[in-house]
Amino acid sequence: MRVECVWCGPRDESEFRCAGPVTEPLPSDLDSLTGVAWARVLYQRANPEGWVDERWLHAAGCGQWLIVTRHTVSHEMAGSRPARPRIASL
């Protein structure tokens, strides 16, 4: 599989580390969360048979984090973007 690095172009997957699907932002009311809500925050992750946004680190390349949209059945890629827009603008 080839992963499209925003900065380096398409590179072999062996140059990257996948850190899993993008997670939802932490809830703002952490102090008042129920046990069930905490379990969801800690353990519930996306696992679609289809498109997923994932965090990939170009570890053996530019060292930048990307968000890659990938299909979990076909492994087709539908684009990458910088994980942190403020870095991309530098």
Binding site: G35, R45, V52, H75
Partner: protein
């Protein structure tokens, strides 16, 4: 009962019927892999419940049941896992006679190598923990490793020096396909309908009570549904509105061409991450860590194969001329603590069996026994109660991720 033919004899019998699904069953099991078939078998054999359908979107035993590396063992660290897998191993030991069909269980010993001081300490801790739990386990020093498995490179100059190993002599392999066929044959004879190429497309439930299953072959009424769909758990459970802490990854395996018997046992190496046995037929069977990213594609990354073969060649120089015949992957359902999730759900009559991750095959009999008991009596056996979904809320995890030292 139809007799099983010997080699070379012609045979017109069938292992199981291919019925059209009826409109209603007492129990519908989704997934005709090892766990689903074992559940059907124990339901009929131990509890006299045979108004049961086992549905599979593909063919019987064609998913992870055909794709694992056939290992059975019970030398887990934590008490909960140890008692679960030891109960499974005891059932394995009864199965050949009980099923009346050769499933080729070979308790040739599973030896986990230690390559560093940390490995040695961790392995010895596990040996002592196993012994405390009444599970056979022993520590071998390097000379004993060499005597037990002469093809392992124990020389001082080895890339991965062998400092010893933890051995479970009762561990070994079983012929996975034949296990599936034997369970299917028994369940079929008892009246269970095994329905292949039948995809579940929805569930029917009223006031949180299961009433039926919608399938590609029509709707089937039932009060009780058991999910045994491994890597597809997330998608199937979502049809009932359930959200589960499961992620699906490919777990790869490969076989070489056939060779004369050279490898007498099962060798695992958590540190360099490869496990190797030799099938009855002669292929070297190898497995490694799961792939690094979510996937439902049953093949996996080549990089994993490259790493595992590199490690295998360091451990077993004799494999240098072996040729890989084929590689494949199964899609495994991994839970946050690498332990299974078994039990009831918020929907009455819907039972879960998932999260077995990379270790489901060895649990085939106990998963079936637990689910059959749960369905028949409404109560979860004691040894399964720590493995319920509620543990992710209570925090009582059974963290085999760290304990086994294996990337699940």
């Amino acid at each position: 009962m139809t007799s099983i033919p010997r080699l070379g004899e012609s045979w017109s019998g069938t292992f199981w019927r291919h019925p059209e699904p009826r409109r209603a069953y007492d129990v519908v099991i989704v997934g005709a892999g090892g766990h689903g078939l074992a559940t059907a078998y124990y339901l009929s054999a131990r509890f006299g419940i045979s108004d049961v359908a086992v549905l599979d979107m593909g063919w019987l035993g064609g998913g992870n049941m055909a794709r694992n590396t056939t290992l059975i063992r019970s030398n887990y660290l934590w008490d909960e896992s140890a008692s679960l897998f030891e109960a499974s191993l005891k059932l394995w030991e009864e199965l050949p006679e009980e099923l009346g069909y050769p499933i080729q269980i070979s308790q040739r010993g599973v030896l986990a190598l230690a390559h560093s001081l940390h490995d040695v300490r961790e392995s010895q801790r596990r040996v002592y923990a196993n012994a405390t739990n009444g599970i056979d386990a022993e520590w071998l020093d390097p000379e004993e490793v060499a005597a037990f498995c002469p093809i392992v490179n124990v020389s001082a100059s080895a890339r991965y020096p062998v400092l010893g190993g933890a051995l479970q002599r009762r561990g070994g392999i079983a012929k996975h396909d034949q296990v599936a066929w034997a369970l299917a044959r028994r369940a079929d004879r008892a009246g269970v309908d095994l329905i292949e190429h039948c995809r579940v497309i929805g569930f029917e439930y009223q006031s949180q009570r299961m009433t039926g299953v919608r399938t590609s072959l029509g709707t089937i009424a039932t009060r009780c549904v058991v999910l045994c769909v491994a890597g597809h758990t997330t998608s199937v459970a979502a049809l009932a509105g359930l959200e589960l802490p499961i992620q699906s990854y490919p777990l790869q395996a490969l076989v070489t061409e056939l060779y004369e018997p050279i490898h007498p046992c099962v060798i695992m190496s958590d540190r360099v991450h490869v496990y190797v046995s030799q099938a009855h037929k002669g292929e070297l069977v190898m497995g490694a860590a799961r792939d690094a990213y979510l996937s439902y594609r049953q093949r996996g990354s080549f990089g994993i194969i490259e790493r595992q073969v590199t490690a295998a060649l360091e451990l077993f120089p004799v494999f240098a001329t072996a040729r890989v015949l084929r590689t494949w992957a199964g899609i495994v359902d991994v839970s946050p603590d690498a332990s299974p999730i078994i039990g009831s759900t918020p929907i009455e009559g819907l039972y879960l069996n998932c999260g077995w991750g990379t270790g489901g095959f060895k649990a085939t009999p106990i998963a079936g026994m637990i689910l059959a008991t749960l369905v028949a009596t409404g109560a979860l056996p004691d040894l399964a109660t720590p493995f319920q979904l509620e543990r992710f809320v209570s925090g009582a995890l059974i963290d085999e991720h760290r304990a086994a030292g294996v990337a699940h």
